[in-house]
């Protein structure tokens, strides 16, 4: 079992650009959530996808959008990048709700 995999592991983008991050959930999992972790802080919830729909959303602007595919993999898109978007982006998967969640290794995004 490969666990939760994210790509790329590192990314450097210029302010104003757009970025797409990818996540493949753990085998047997159908729910994917995305988190942003700024340096020295705990992860903050961005949104959750289930059955290809956004089920819940945290306090993030519309510049952050996502998608879930029929194979349960997911993408996180961020438009009009700001310097403050520099962070570690974590993907978590679970089998439905209120079950044990597993995290990927993260994508470290740097906006310059």
């Amino acid at each position: 079992d490969a666990g939760v995999t994210q790509s790329p592991t590192h990314l450097i983008k210029t302010r104003g650009q757009q970025v797409t991050l990818r996540c493949s959930p753990k085998s047997g999992h159908d729910t994917v959530s995305w988190y942003q972790q700024a340096l020295g802080q705990g992860p903050q919830f961005i949104f959750q996808y289930y059955e290809e729909e956004e089920r819940q959303r945290g306090n993030f602007p519309d510049r952050f959008s996502g998608h879930q595919f029929p194979n349960y993999s997911s993408e996180l898109n961020v438009n009009a990048l700001l310097l403050g978007d520099s962070a570690l982006y974590l993907c978590a998967s679970s089998a439905g709700f209120f079950t044990e969640a597993f995290f990927g290794q993260g994508t470290r995004l740097t906006v310059v």
Binding site: G42, F45, G58, F97, F98, E100, A101, Q105
Partner: protein, 109 residues
Amino acid sequence: GIQVEQSPPDLILQEGANSTLRCNFSDSVNNLQWFHQNPWGQLINLFYIPSGTKQNGRLSATTVATERYSLLYISSSQTTDSGVYFCAVELRSGQNFVFGPGTRLSVLP
């Protein structure tokens, strides 16, 4: 929204020492997990423990849901235990994970 507090914020131990990390939360939860974040950012699952007590080797955890707290015990600490320990809770209303601020543990040889 729910408040999740962790204590202590920082902890420095000598190898071989024992420690207790605490997580307090302000509302009823359906899920509670403890994670260890390694220096490369990976969140490693330690315990899925919405209630009760579990043990895994040198680590154990207890959650008292009615009193809204959870404890993580680390015995005979090793240098590889260093890192940040997070408690994360999931509300009954399904607000997804809310993380505490973490406890930064440093184990010295």
